[in-house]
């Protein structure tokens, strides 16, 4: 009986590999290649004992800990220790994203588009497709772990041992598998592909936030986060295996749960039957704007909620920083000396959060704009455009929503950060400072939005590049200074051109230039969109 549920799995695995013959190697190259390539890069920049000592001190900054993870092996802080400290959580997140996209693509998305209908009529077990997807994910993560494990040591960097590398790779692979299996569960309980990916990405962000709070204070929170667990391997320092077993155990548990759910649920349905909706269109649903808003409603609400949560969470650890600094002698010295001239720790932290929150808020903004393209791809737009709505109008509607949403998202995340900070801090910070520091990033967000419209206009098949550039831009400003990239490289990121407000003085020139660039991009995008074929 059990065997029959899985029959045909191996043929489906081959089919998945065939379908993703470009995609899987590309992801592996990106994730593993990046992880490996950063080792010599970091070594060049921080290889000397002095530089490492400097990094060791900076890494103890609670803002840094919240950002990248806890510090281990301080008594002998070599490249290996620093690399794990700096990169493991972030790379595990990247691996998580890879797994989330992979699993939704082969399960819920295929199901939603009716592609599994015929497959299920063949002598293929009911769970074969899910099993094939999971097994392929296991292979993919294993290959990634091995590439990283054996790749990082080849440079012979001090402290980067083979055992440490293998554990580093295994931690990433195991965390990736947890996200793959958790995504499989979300795919069973949710009613649609969109909801499933939304839930999975939310889980990824939540895991990051939990470990941020856990690493700064409440350790237990880190232990229930897959990302927090990866740090606990202390790769290159303690080289503990137990977190990997815990992660693999969690992955197996999630996978079993997904299989159980998949067994009892009907194809095309969530665990809960779809309820009947409205009989008539609501008042909102009365034109292209209404339609677009109705379609974007969930994105707006969910991301609004996530951003508020994020703001509150970071706002509420603001005071922890003070106590942390009070207890730590080295930090007190650094604090007294000031990292940047005249700036306080809290200012540093606020400036950092503003970048982080702006990049976060840009994700849904791009999503809202690119909805124009996904509606087109799925053929829904055809019907709307056939009904006397012009392309310019459709474009304008989605652009308008994205533009307004960018401002609203920024406002609510700043306000929630500020509110939480005012509650926990003895001296409430000035709202004006927070507002200008945060809203400063709007022109940078608009450049990314402009890029999305340009892609829609000229390269509709490559709209994913907008997210890629967002990731790169974020990485450049978030990490670029630390890694010591030259200024011109950091300026390639729109975020890198924004005056970092509590730390630097306001400067309107770059803001206006960025706004101008974004206007040009949007203009071009619209022109391209008017002329091209809808496909």
């Amino acid at each position: 009986m059990l065997k029959r549920l899985f029959s045909g799995t191996s043929a489906l695995i081959l089919f998945i590999l065939r379908r993703d013959r470009v995609r899987i190697p590309a992801w592996l190259l990106l994730v593993a290649g990046f992880t490996v390539a950063c080792v010599p890069l970091f070594n060049n920049m921080f290889g000397s004992a002095d530089e490492l000592q400097g990094m060791a001190e900076m890494m103890q900054n609670p803002a840094m800990i919240a950002m990248v993870g806890p510090v281990y092996g301080l008594d002998n802080y070599h490249m290996g220790a620093m690399y794990t400290n700096f990169m493991l959580v972030l790379m595990a997140m990247l691996a998580g994203a890879m797994n989330i996209f992979f699993v939704t693509r082969h399960t819920r998305q295929d199901e939603e588009f009716g592609r599994l209908e015929v497959v299920r009529s063949l002598p293929v077990g009911r769970l074969a497709n899910l099993a094939a997807t999971m097994l392929t994910a296991v292979k993919m993560n294993a290959v990634m772990a091995l590439l990283i494990g054996f790749g990082m040591v080849v440079f012979g960097v001090d402290g980067v041992t083979l055992s440490g590398s293998l554990i580093f790779g295994a931690a990433m692979g195991a965390a990736g598998l947890v996200f793959a299996a958790a995504t499989a569960v979300f795919c069973q309980i949710s009613g649609s592909n969109r909801t499933a990916s939304g839930m999975a990405l939310f889980y990824l962000v939540l895991a990051y936030m939990l470990r941020a709070a856990g690493d700064v204070g409440a350790e237990a929170l880190s232990l229930i986060s897959p990302l927090g667990l990866t740090s606990r391997t202390q790769a290159f320092v303690g080289n503990y295996l137990w977190p990997i077993w815990v992660l693999l155990g969690a992955a197996v548990a999630f996978a079993v749960l997904a299989l159980v759910f998949a067994k009892v649920r009907d194809l095309g349905q969530g665990m809960v039957a779809a309820r009947p909706g409205r009989r008539h269109a609501g008042r909102l649903l009365s034109g292209p704007l209404g339609l677009a808003l109705r379609l974007s409603k969930t994105t707006l609400l969910v991301w609004g909620f996530v951003l508020v949560l994020f703001g509150v969470m970071y706002g509420s650890v603001m005071d922890q920083m003070d106590t942390f600094i009070g207890e730590n002698e080295t930090l007190q010295q650094m604090f007294a000396a000031g990292i940047t001239d005249g700036a306080s720790y809290t200012d540093e932290f606020v400036a950092l959060l503003m970048v982080l929150m702006s990049a976060m808020a840009t994700i849904p903004v791009l999503g809202l704009m690119l909805r124009l393209r996904s509606e087109e791809k799925q053929g829904y737009l055809e019907r709307v455009l056939a009904g006397s709505v012009s392309r310019v109008k459709m474009f304008g509607v989605y652009f308008g929503i994205a533009l307004v949403a960018s401002t609203v998202f920024k406002l609510i995340s700043i306000l929630s950060l500020w509110s939480a900070a005012s509650i926990v801090l003895d001296a409430p910070p000035a709202l004006g400072t927070y507002l200008s520091a945060g809203l400063n990033y709007l022109p940078a967000m608009w450049v990314l939005l402009g890029l999305a419209t340009l892609l829609i206009g000229f390269f509709p098949k490559r709209t994913g590049l907008a997210y890629g550039y967002l990731g790169l831009s974020f990485f450049l400003v978030y990490m670029g200074n630390l890694i010591g990239f030259p200024d011109w490289v950091i300026h390639l990121s729109p975020f890198g051109n924004i005056p970092r407000l509590p730390l630097e003085a306001q400067n309107w020139v770059p803001l206006l230039v960025l706004a101008g660039i974004s206007a040009v991009l949007v203009g071009l995008g619209l022109a391209g969109y008017r002329k091209r074929d809808l496909t």
Binding site: G8, R19, R115, E117, V118, V119, Q269
Partner: protein, 291 residues
């Protein structure tokens, strides 16, 4: 022997009852038609038979095996074509056909080439670029290449052009000649009339009629146009006569098919000059049930 047997099948989606005690039987070697208005429950019944949906109540067996529990065994001998064929956008039609053949672990290679040719399909195109009819052909080719014992076809020709529709009908005749069974759901009544031995009509989740076309015809009325030497007296009083109208061609009326003989006898008394007798089309039969 019955190939498909559905007894008292009920399927609920949450509170909504899509099937309410459906009974159905497809015998070996017959082409069975399954018709009914939109949303009647045809596709739902078929998906229960395929083990894609689980029955809420009742039994569905194929080849004497349970449709849900023994799905894999059953599917080795089944070929299915849905009305809405969705395929992976960046795979070619040929790749998809081969995948389906491989998953079935069987199928006839030379037959496949023959089918591709006769359905005039270009298997090297990406599925993204196929038209609706061409996607349908991919499913039809892989179904007919499979040498199954039961073909389950859910509106298989929605989207085919008339020429391809003919090719399709030839194949159905061919598999029938080989003694295989077919369950065909369709809205194209001519197709059903031409191909099917027996028909079930389903409405709002209930089967309301089952039988051969002959039997079903008996349940409805035959249209008659007649000219007689002497004027017809008290036609309206005759049993089973309805809808009388005087036209240029003569008197037109319809009569319950089971009372047809009696009516002809009655007309004979008045000296028939010309008589035209039209059996009910499936469409008329259908309309009566749909209203």
């Amino acid at each position: 022997m019955s190939i498909v047997s559905v007894q008292n099948l009920t399927k609920r989606f949450g509170k909504f009852e899509a099937l309410k005690g459906v009974n159905l039987e497809v015998k070996e070697g017959e082409v069975f038609g399954f018709i009914g208005p939109n949303g009647a429950g045809k596709s739902t019944t078929i998906r229960v038979l395929l083990g894609i949906l689980q029955a809420s109540e009742g039994a569905a067996t194929v080849f004497g095996k349970d449709a849900w529990k023994d799905a894999v065994e059953i599917h080795k001998r089944i070929a299915y074509v849905p009305g809405d064929v969705n395929l992976w956008p960046n795979m070619t039609g040929g790749e998809v056909i081969d995948l389906f053949t491989r998953l079935r672990r069987g199928g006839n290679k030379s037959y496949r080439e023959d089918l591709i040719q006769r359905f005039d399909l270009d298997p090297s195109k990406k599925c993204r670029t196929y038209s609706k009819g061409n996607r349908q052909k991919v499913a039809l080719v892989s179904a007919f290449a499979s040498e199954a014992d039961l073909y389950i076809l859910d509106e298989p020709t929605s989207g085919l052009d008339p020429l391809m529709e003919q090719v399709f009908q030839q194949y159905v005749h061919e598999v029938k000649a080989q003694g295989k069974s077919v369950l065909l759901s369709s809205h194209i009544l001519q197709e059903v009339e031409r191909l099917c031995d027996r028909v079930s009509i389903i409405r709002q989740g209930e089967v309301i009629e089952t039988g051969t076309l002959q039997e079903l015809r008996h349940l409805t009325r035959t249209s008659i146009t007649v000219k007689t030497e002497r004027p017809l007296e008290s036609l309206a009083a005759q049993p089973g006569v309805h809808d009388i109208a005087e036209e240029a061609e003569g008197t037109m009326f319809s009569v319950d098919t089971e009372l047809l003989g009696q009516s002809i006898g009655y007309l004979g008394q008045y000296g028939i000059v010309s008589l035209e007798c039209t059996p009910p089309t499936l469409e008329q039969l259908f309309m009566r049930h749909y209203e």
